[in-house]
Symmetry: C3
Amino acid sequence: MKHIKTFFSSVAQVMFQGNVSCGILFIVGIFWGAYSAGTPAVAWGALVGTAVSILTGYLLGYPHNEGEQGLWGFNGVLVGCALMTFLGSTPLGWAALVVCSAMTTWVRTALNRLGEPLGVSSYTFPFVMSTWIFLAAARMLGGIDVVALSHPMLPASFVHLTHSAAPSFIDFVEWTLRGVSQVFLIDSWITGVLFLAGLLIASPLSALWAVIGSAGGAALALLFGAPTEAIAHGMYGFSPTLTAIALGAIFLRPSLRTTIWALVGIVGTFFVQASMNVLLAPVGLPSLTAPFCIATWLFILPTFKNQLKN
Amino acid sequence: MKHIKTFFSSVAQVMFQGNVSCGILFIVGIFWGAYSAGTPAVAWGALVGTAVSILTGYLLGYPHNEGEQGLWGFNGVLVGCALMTFLGSTPLGWAALVVCSAMTTWVRTALNRLGEPLGVSSYTFPFVMSTWIFLAAARMLGGIDVVALSHPMLPASFVHLTHSAAPSFIDFVEWTLRGVSQVFLIDSWITGVLFLAGLLIASPLSALWAVIGSAGGAALALLFGAPTEAIAHGMYGFSPTLTAIALGAIFLRPSLRTTIWALVGIVGTFFVQASMNVLLAPVGLPSLTAPFCIATWLFILPTFKNQLKN
Amino acid sequence: MKHIKTFFSSVAQVMFQGNVSCGILFIVGIFWGAYSAGTPAVAWGALVGTAVSILTGYLLGYPHNEGEQGLWGFNGVLVGCALMTFLGSTPLGWAALVVCSAMTTWVRTALNRLGEPLGVSSYTFPFVMSTWIFLAAARMLGGIDVVALSHPMLPASFVHLTHSAAPSFIDFVEWTLRGVSQVFLIDSWITGVLFLAGLLIASPLSALWAVIGSAGGAALALLFGAPTEAIAHGMYGFSPTLTAIALGAIFLRPSLRTTIWALVGIVGTFFVQASMNVLLAPVGLPSLTAPFCIATWLFILPTFKNQLKN
């Protein structure tokens, strides 16, 4: 029973909630999205990644109360989704998934030791760092199939001059929901609805900021002329979603000042996102949630202590 | 009146001077260089960038005495020069400039928190980091025009085997002055003279080291066979100029030991500069003043406390 | 006499031994490997690099006891081997070698100041960082010949699908020995035997872990289908060799737990190695011992204090 609680709390912690019902709805959303896209391995990867990273915390003898809040497992969920999205579901692919999810548990401890004196945490960066290592390695290793990584290329190729028509309101809502679902690398507006429902149960303020973040990212991407295809699939929404929840509902005391700060944080995350899409092009790696981590560090570090919660 | 003082001190702080007359001469130099090159937006960008980054310090409620020494604004001046050098002067280009200069003020606070326990500051790295983000993003965003970034390419293409004739003394002086002017991304020997005049008013020792740094960078680049075109436009001079002032006149107590150390620092900066020109080639970004920041960290961190000023 | 002791201790410290006889055998191994490969400059580079980096420690007035344990010089040996492996043996090439080895001494002090509060050291990263700077710079500088760096390319080109036959036992032993010799960038199984003999004199446990690390790296590379050519030349062995000695024999108290941890560390190092081969491809730089440094940080930082030696 306790372990089931730990499991679902871990899934919910991806969006900073230690709430079991929220975690259950997230898992339902992941299964819906993965099965409807014909990639069931993504959903099973999420389960395995979560379980392995939690188990690793127990094996390493880390303090249980941390793990039971879901803090061991949230990077593992994302590793599971990412590795089964980009790599083939082969025995060696699953072996990579197991090593990579386990690794996030101690990489998190390692990175948190760096951030501790500065009052920041590693957020989802253990997932980003470990996943980058395994995805890059997969290109070199014939035993692991790369099925969905974009082709490495020089960023010169993507100067976009066309300006596409503004989307309808319905389209924009759908893009915003896809942005929320892309937090777990799922491309489905229905999953977006399920994720928001989970957030609503756990923290209505978080749900509100998730919508503002995803919609804000998409709106900025439209305004500044990012490729429409990417916006429509939520690629400019997922990192701002996380930044918005982090700054608007989790780490800062809500006030007019911090509300404005969270809105500026969405703008910052958008530009970091666009830049990382360019910087990672030559090695053909996805940015994952790195733009959220980088932007949130840049917006939390310079904040006055009296604006930080606890 | 106080605001005018803050404004010009900020411009002067790019070369570590909190001196109003020096800042005025720097602005004159920027205007001369920008107008004579037919890119007036660079000069106006410098003014807007400075003003925005100072205003941001007030809005965030940071301690005023810091800002009035010019420490909020010096990254903003450089953002203004850089964004209007590399990007088109369009409404969205100016919007990017405003967000990017504002960002330097809190990124500086964030990065200084990292450096504080080690006794180092972020120097111009908030400018470098923010500008890299916006320049890279601009390649992805159709709404922002890229007008002068070099084409992304694999560094294989630049193995240079030719050895060009040594420049005349007059040429070498001109290259040295251009190196000084390139600190603000201006390519004009007259601007170099104006910048040196400003330094001379504020700190003759700084002016001397600026000349040594720029000349040293150019001489090393000639000796080791860097592309002559780049040397002639001061591209190997600007980062060593800043390192030389930092190590020779600002952060270390002048002595025979620290004088030799500053000279070695120029050599170190030169190699970091050459390496970054290669490392950034695949993404087509300029090194900006990153070689100065990296070299200065590597030369300040291992210094004994009794060689550091205050 | 004292200086001779310092010299050979420095060479031995590359594999964490402050033992003169071990250092002598390492130098013999380097000379054998360099001369038998027809690249004698590599061996002489090792001598010069060591001497310069030790001399730099004295000139900078760093505490002598550190230097005499071999801690000033071990990065310099590696710089000497690396620069004379990849660059031409010309006057300017040797000038670069002198500056680069000297630099490792203070870069080590600088980086150790970052790691100190976290209880980690910079390991061979001063060598990695300084060498990357000079190798990248060499591509830009006509005065320094690049003779053996791999061509910069987009990593797309190396998706390997072939699965080669398993090596014979004798082959595998040879590959393992080459992995050990590649720690000093030497590609010779005889050198591998000499290095292991040196380790055996200084610390039999270290020798054992060196074999486990190199064999483990090669075995994982075979299992996951890395290019056979690279495995046969020890390219997947040298970083795991260092990680294995570091975690198995040097930094952690030997126990069942830490033994398993060192084995997992070999797995981690292998994936970091494969990923860096991809990430560095666009700039055509070798990973050097960076995979060892990164993996060892990630495995030491999250370790409980009571598992760390002293």
